[in-house]
Symmetry: C2
Subunit: 325 residues, 2 copies
């Protein structure tokens, strides 16, 4: 029921995921208001998916924690309960991000050994996606949180983007040691001592050039990065649109440029995982298209198949055994 | 001597500033290695500008504080001394930003009542420039620092962008009260009590839409915003370039799109002022074009004429008299 075009975009995404051959319709649980879902299931010939009724809906801009507390029968909470009880293996939503994070924390809980869950967003770069973690689950972090983010995001990269040794950078405002203050220095030392492929400091412009596969940062700055990138892509798109209005290009030029802009849309990448909770949770952008929802469902399948949570638990256990006192 | 194309781009910028009629050549002090400057002054017919010899040069990526300490005869330090002694009224450079900030702090010093100087960058938006302060002079701030930034940037907006009542936003990761934690809440309360036109929280995407005239944030996140925006603009430009290579557009389409991208280049906006030191200091991007240098020189003239530092001092004095105990 979540997202700007729900429930239609979500169900169309489910249809695409089934149609693409990777997803067995009987493995999908659709959670939401049955009377809203049934006609679309009919229309899109989605049988034999299973419907789990949830009477309430958390809207996109509702204050998250309060909504999760007061709406016990929301689609987000009911779907999370289904995963917690073992009826489902992974959770996918294009709904209210804060509500998903709150429900996951309460209903699923943190994985053993995890200090704080973090949201990892694959951002488009010149060399494929770069994972930025955290983008808002954990506003102000401790160095140990960022160390765990680096480990968890490396595992996610292996699972979904087929990179056996993902390279990790620490966001800073310069490349020299001593820049960025004590928090950054402490985190730098922890990452150097971690069992990851750590490449040192990364500046803002390096994220988009694809210098590394994973960038770790505090949730406040990560969230700002995501929103600035989104705002800027929109602004540039508008400028190019205005230029085209004055000097209309041939159709194939327009199509090529539109495709270039579509490649910038991280909403298409298969969603952002909330890493560090006891089951795979994928959060899509509110404006997720059916194609984006399909990618999320398939990514959820990959994470379950890979055994992401088992891998993360093993890595964290090895790390804390190896380094911390 | 600073910048990627120094000293030629700087001297060509001086020539443009003189040619545009606003700047008297006799009012310009060019500071740098005399043997490098003289031939260009000849070539560009820049007489009667005055040359102040400085034997040393701080390079663009030298660690800033150490360079300022060890190179007492660098163009940055010598020019700053010229302003401190009253030989000049304002300082302009496309050189090493950290070195300019360090030299300004040591040689000029903070204005009376200023806690921390901050760098204000005019970023292009859908509605003209938006000033983001701080972008790296003050990595981790106190709420009082951001309050002063809001006041100083409002004055700068009045001086250079002709906006009598600039609207100020506080960068946050949501628009509700309670988001962003204690630091943001405390700053929010201080800004509400300040004699500025405060519009509340602003998210990353709102910067580029031009929702406000001034956005205040800590130096770490401000610096990241700037660099992500720069990296993204470059990335999008590359994508569009690739699209054009496959489907070459007519020349006027290409020109219109190139102009759209040029409007995104904050390097062209007349430099970023370091606010809170005892004289106007403008810092340009390393890749500043002659046009950008011209804009900086003219902006420096406007700040002197407006009496920016006197206005800032009056505002800060009124603020501390009015609100703090």
């Amino acid at each position: 029921m979540g997202g700007d075009h729900a429930p239609r975009a979500v169900l169309e995404g489910a249809a695409l995921a089934i149609g693409s051959g990777g997803i067995d319709p009987a493995s999908l649980l659709l959670v939401g208001r049955e009377e809203a879902l049934r006609p679309l299931i009919e229309e899109l010939s989605l049988q034999p998916v299973e419907v789990v009724h949830a009477a309430e809906v958390i809207s996109m801009d509702e204050p998250a924690s309060a909504a999760v507390r007061s709406k016990r029968d929301s689609s987000i909470s009911v779907a999370m309960e289904a995963v917690a009880s073992g009826q489902g293996d992974a959770f996918v939503s294009a709904g209210n991000t804060g509500a998903v994070v709150a429900a996951a924390s309460v209903v699923l809980g943190r994985s053993k050994g995890v200090h704080r869950p973090g949201i990892a967003v694959p951002m488009p770069t010149q060399k494929g996606p770069c994972i930025v973690i955290d983008v808002g689950a954990n506003i102000y972090c401790k160095p140990e949180h960022l160390q765990q983010y680096a480990i968890m995001a490396s595992e996610y990269c292996r699972a979904v983007f087929d990179k056996p040794t993902p390279e990790v950078g620490l966001l800073n405002i310069g490349s020299e040691e001593g820049k960025g203050g004590g928090f950054v220095s402490e985190t730098h030392a922890l990452l150097q001592a971690s069992d990851i492929s750590y490449r040192g400091f990364i500046e803002g412009q390096d994220i988009l050039s694809g210098a590394v596969d994973v960038v770790v940062c505090e949730g406040f700055v990560g969230n700002v990065i995501l929103k600035v990138a989104e705002g800027l892509a929109k602004f540039v798109g508008q400028q190019v649109h205005n230029a085209f209005a004055l000097h209309p290009p041939r159709n194939e030029v327009k199509t090529a440029v539109n495709e270039a802009f579509a490649s910038l849309d991280y909403a298409e990448y298969g969603g952002a995982p909330l890493l560090g909770v006891t089951a795979p949770v994928l959060i899509g952008h509110g404006r997720s298209s059916p194609h984006a929802v399909m990618n999320m469902i398939r990514a959820a399948g990959s994470l379950v198949e890979y055994g992401l949570n088992r891998h993360i638990a093993e890595r964290l256990a090895a790390q804390s055994g190896g380094v911390s006192p």
